[in-house]
């Protein structure tokens, strides 16, 4: 009980930078940030060996709030940037942070292909069913009847189901977390990072400013009633009865992780033979 702690063990606070987030007080993203830092400490990683790649949106501000390397790219393109980074530097731990607008709308195409490609990344999408940074427009996960300035009568368009898409496109790990349980969220993040291949974690992260109705989420979330499966068909059946508030891991697969062909050990000069007469 009185055993001394390991000398250089990093704690969650070592993964936080000293920048104060600009998120509204009460935003779920604070908890996600806290959860990420806890997870990185749990995984015994070092900040210089972790990169957080993001797009544009409130949640995408997160890289600078960590003490890791960060890449704050353009809207919707976090996944390709992270892919290039991870393929170039496979020894780094690469987290990708996005929101429901950045990730599922403009980033939708890259989402499909990132799941397919199965590069070893961890994709954390902070979903608040709204475009927060631009002041409250519907996002792909917004309910069809939610009224806004851009869609005064509601969009009338069926919501995007990210877990279904992730599973169908071949993600190797599919889970949902809730920012209201930062420790649970931290555990899921750590599990996602540990799991090889493309790990997708959707985090329900309420927006206090534009979706005050989401305060009710803490009553709606519940642990998923079943354990994760590695059988995509079983996972597919389960996801079709998902109420959007099941928390936990849905699918943990064994798909082959993306790797470029191994180097053949030649030199640039060797390539000249092809041009020589």
């Amino acid at each position: 009980m009185n055993a001394p702690m390991p000398a250089a063990a990093l704690q969650a606070k070592d993964f936080k930078s000293d920048y104060k987030p600009v998120w509204c007080p009460g935003c779920g993203d604070y908890s996600v940030l806290s959860a990420i830092t806890k997870a990185l400490a749990m995984l015994e990683l070092k900040p210089e060996n972790v990169a957080v790649v993001s797009g544009i949106g409130c949640s995408s501000r997160i890289p600078a709030y960590t003490s890791c390397y960060g890449f704050h790219g353009v809207h919707g393109r976090a996944l390709p940037a992270a892919t290039g980074l991870k393929v170039a530097r496979p020894e780094l731990t690469v987290l990708v942070a996005s929101g429901d607008g950045d990730g599922y709308s403009i980033g939708g195409n890259h989402f499909l292909h990132a799941c397919r490609r199965n590069v070893d990344l961890t994709y954390i999408v902070m979903d608040n069913h709204v475009y927060g940074m631009t002041k409250g427009q519907p996002s792909p996960t917004t309910e069809p009847d939610w009224r806004s300035k851009l869609a005064p009568g509601g969009t009338g368009v069926r919501e995007f189901h990210p877990l279904v898409i992730a599973l169908a496109s071949g993600a190797n790990f599919v889970a949902r977390a809730f920012s209201g349980d930062p420790n649970g969220c931290a555990a899921l993040i750590a599990e996602a990072v540990r799991h090889p291949g493309f790990s997708f974690l959707e985090v329900l992260s309420p927006c206090v400013t534009f979706r005050p109705d989401q305060r009710g989420w803490k009553e709606l979330v519940h642990p998923a009633p079943v354990a994760p499966t590695d059988d995509p068909a079983r996972a597919a059946r389960r996801i079709m009865t998902d109420d959007g508030f099941n928390i936990g891991v849905l699918y943990k697969g064994n798909r082959r992780v993306y790797a470029p062909p191994a180097a053949k050990g030649g030199t640039v000069a060797d390539l000249e033979k092809a041009f020589q007469l």
């Binding site: 957080v52 390397y69 390709p80 940037a81 980074l85 530097r89 640039v268 000249e272």
Partner: protein, 570 residues
């Protein structure tokens, strides 16, 4: 010295020619491209220089095709004013190539009488029709094809040694070698009866390569240190990417196929952020998609190279043909003021050095660089002198592990601030497209914006490219100013003339002092470019003071300039 000034050669040669251009055409399945390639290989084996371009109908298979081969005793990648011979296996739809294969009264039309007379569009040039029963001759040999007979005819016409043709056949043919060679010999024999266009012997047999512009650019990229490539296929850049895929595996890099150009540019940026020189290649439509992310590269100061193999535009345009229409978007496409590098190779061979240089500039200045190649260079196969091995000594300045807080975007005098590579302790930072202060923290302060804009501007504008900025050749009071693939025909037009050539290789940052010096004493400037609106002329006018009278010689693609057009403008 990075560049070799092309020696001025006299165009007047007694008796023999120093250059012959022939074309081979026919419909699908005739093996026109294969034979054209072999002719080029034969020329190479015989010690010549040369160039092959090709054209085809829109069909995926079975369409009409034409191979245009120029063989010369000196290095060139221009096309002559006229083709000396057009040999057709058959005439189906071959008329569509008429504008690309200009003939004259000195030219010969070789065709198989079994397929009827040549189309009027060729006959009206005054070319002489020589019927040769290619199919019948081929039928004499079991397993022989008419295209090999035609190959032999053309080779004989040019005076290529028979051994060279044989060597080419041995190199290229996987099956039917003996019948092929026999057929070629028969064709060769036919040519003996015709008045030829015999080539003079090449002056020296220097070591040469056979390479396409796309391969050259890929190879140049690797020489420059690129080890990550993101690829999205687009005509006419696809071969560049396909060449790089196994080449990267060979040397220890990676190529990832992206789902679209938005992904490919961002993959390259991500890999570069991770420390690996990175590149992608595309054409006009793809470059349009990449523009936003190139701006990210500029503001976040992440090096990246995009090779734009320009095609006829705008919009979908003519995918298989050339034009120099992407100058505007390459220079001015990004929103905001986003200084960056634009480089234009001016020969097939120069695609190597120009791309290598672009990689070095991107890395050392931590900025995106666009290489303006085009379909003409990209898909032409040329016999070139083995290029000089140049090492530009342009490397990325990296931050050492160390004292915090690390100022990623420190306001240095050169504008280049050391870049921390992930994995390095003590200097983590977040690269950002948001405007930022020296530390990299997003900032909306006027002072920070101005300071960073100045930094990014001087970083690029203070580049001293040395002599690599342009090819400056010749002397005279008239100067022709051009860039890219127009350079070849301009050079040929200026042979034996007292006219200067200035072919810009570095388009951004502009080099007004250097151009002023190059045009000292010039009273008349002719600006040559292959686009409709005169993008290069406007660029020159906006960045440079042009002396005296300025004339614009411009035409959109797809047809390349021919030396006589430029001569007429002088």
């Amino acid at each position: 010295m990075w560049l070799k000034v092309w020696p001025r050669r006299s165009s007047k040669v007694a008796a023999m020619r120093n250059s012959v251009s022939v074309a081979l055409a026919g419909s699908g399945g005739a093996g026109v491209m294969t034979a054209g390639n072999m002719l080029l290989e034969a020329a190479a084996a015989a010690g010549y220089y040369g160039l092959m371009t090709r054209s085809s109908g829109p069909q995926i298979r079975g369409g009409e095709a034409a191979a245009m081969v120029r063989v010369a005793a000196f290095p060139t990648d221009a096309q002559e004013d006229r083709f000396h011979a057009l040999a057709a296996i058959d005439w189906q739809n071959v008329g569509r190539f008429a504008a690309e294969i200009p003939l004259g009264p000195q030219s010969v039309l070789i065709g198989d009488p079994a397929h009827g007379a040549p189309p009027e569009v060729f006959l009206k040039s005054g070319a002489r029709y020589i019927p040769i029963a290619l199919k019948k001759i081929a039928a004499e040999i079991q397993g022989a094809w008419p295209n090999m007979v035609a190959l032999g005819v053309l080779a004989g016409l040019m005076g290529l040694p028979a051994e060279a043709v044989e060597a080419a056949a041995r190199k290229s043919m996987k099956k039917g070698l003996e019948p092929g060679i026999a057929a070629a010999r028969l064709g060769f024999a036919q040519a003996a009866n015709l008045g030829g266009f015999a080539l003079q012997k090449p002056e020296t047999s220097k070591p040469r390569w056979l390479i396409s512009g796309n391969e050259a650019a890929g190879y140049g990229a690797l020489r420059g240190g690129v080890r990550f490539v993101a690829a999205y296929p687009i005509t006419p850049a696809t071969e560049l990417l396909e060449w790089l895929a196994p080449a990267l595996t060979e040397v220890g890099g990676a190529l990832v196929q992206a789902e679209d150009e938005l992904a490919s540019i961002n993959m390259a940026l991500g890999a570069s952020f991770g420390g690996l020189p990175a590149l992608t290649a595309t054409s006009g439509p793809g470059l349009s998609l990449m523009i936003e992310s190139l701006g990210l590269g500029v503001v976040a100061e992440v090096p990246v190279v995009v090779v734009d193999v320009m095609r006829t535009g705008p919009s979908t345009g003519i995918a298989t043909k050339t034009e120099q229409g992407d100058l505007n978007i390459a220079l001015y496409g990004m929103h905001g003021d986003a200084p960056h590098i634009v480089v234009a190779p001016n020969s097939v061979s120069d695609c190597i050095a120009a791309t290598q240089w672009a990689v070095g500039l991107a890395e050392s200045l931590q900025v995106p660089a666009i290489v303006l190649s085009d379909q003409y260079f990209g898909q032409a196969r040329a016999i070139v002198d083995v290029p000089h091995r140049t090492d530009f000594d342009l490397e990325r300045r990296r931050a050492s592990p160390g004292e915090s807080p690390y100022q990623r975007y420190a306001l240095t005098e050169s504008g280049v601030s050391p870049m921390a590579i992930p994995g390095t302790a003590g200097c983590t930072y977040t690269a950002d497209g948001l405007e930022h202060n020296e530390r990299g923290t997003p900032s909306s302060q006027a002072g920070d914006h101005l300071a960073q804009m100045d930094k990014r501007a001087r970083k690029v504008s203070q580049l001293d490219p040395g002599d690599a900025w342009a090819s400056v050749e010749g002397e005279g009071e008239t100067a022709v100013v051009t860039f890219g693939s127009c350079t070849g025909p301009v050079r040929e037009a200026l042979l034996d003339k007292k006219v200067r050539l200035v072919s810009l290789r570095l388009l951004s940052p502009a080099q007004p002092d250097k151009l002023k010096k190059a045009l000292e004493g010039v009273k008349r400037v002719i600006v040559v470019e292959q686009n409709h609106s005169g993008q290069f002329l406007r660029y020159l006018r906006s960045e440079y003071d042009l002396p005296g009278e300025v004339k614009s010689l411009r035409r959109p693609g797809p047809l390349p300039f021919r030396p006589e057009e430029i001569e007429a403008a002088l």
